[in-house]
Amino acid sequence: MAGIVSTVLVGVGCAAPNQPDGAGNTAHCFVRAHSPHESHGSPGNIAGKIDISCRPRIDSLTGLAKLQMLQSGDWVDVAEANPREVSNPKQGRRYAVTASMPCRSGTFRTAGRGYGYLNGVRSASATWTYSKPVKNPCE
């Protein structure tokens, strides 16, 4: 059930303080925001999926996903997934989080954010990553 329509990738560094990089104390997490699309299995829903993966090792990660709709020139949140926290995630494995809502007309994008903890320290960056916008994803 793997499929990617369009993604935007962002790297998030995560390092314990006072620890030199390159000494096995730095992990990097990547968030991909997939373009909103109509769910193929259950038509009638827009799905916006993100995935997050980290290397080489991290203690835990959290992924957040939401769908945004363009309204009067501004992006407005219209659906939000429950945050997913994974303990001891496997390095390199992609963990998905999907926001969904009933189909409606308009221009949508997926917003994703993720962060991790390494040695008790939260990743420094947790900015939102956005997919390409899609007009009327259910048509």
Binding site: M1, A2, G3, G41
Partner: protein, 134 residues
């Protein structure tokens, strides 16, 4: 996993937890035998499955086969079956009005929902499925 694989996996899980699975095209309803509690799982294609339980528990979960842990969708379903899912009505502290909902589902591999939030709430645990006498 394909949808038929997911269906077979859910049927086995329901049996292990003393319940039954009712299958029709694209939908599986998992039901505890004695108290009518149910979990509805719908095919979501490449995104995995939609899971629907309780009053407000709705989420999409991936259905990827992993070597070292069950597919995420099965983790969620079995957490609900075993009483490790909570749903909350979040209320306005001034008026007591219901303003939001929240869920917390704990699996052996992590937590879904459960965002740290100081707003007052009423929480109930989705009842664990009754264990069938052996």
């Amino acid at each position: 996993m394909t949808w038929p694989d997911v269906v077979a996996m859910l049927q086995q899980s329901a049996g292990r937890h003393g319940g039954r699975a009712f299958v029709r095209e694209g939908v599986v309803v998992l039901s505890a035998e004695r108290d009518g509690t149910s979990i509805t799982v719908r095919d979501a294609g490449d995104d995995g499955v939609f899971i629907d339980a309780g009053w407000v528990t709705r989420l999409v979960a991936e259905a990827e086969d992993n070597e070292d842990e069950p597919p995420y969708c099965l983790q969620i379903v079995e957490a609900i079956m075993t009483g490790r899912a909570e749903e909350s009505a979040v209320v306005d502290p001034e008026t007591g009005t219901w303003i939001d909902t929240a869920i917390t589902i704990r699996t052996p591999y992590g937590t879904t929902g459960g965002r740290a939030d100081a707003r007052p709430r009423y929480t109930r645990t989705l009842p664990a499925w009754p264990v069938r006498p052996s």
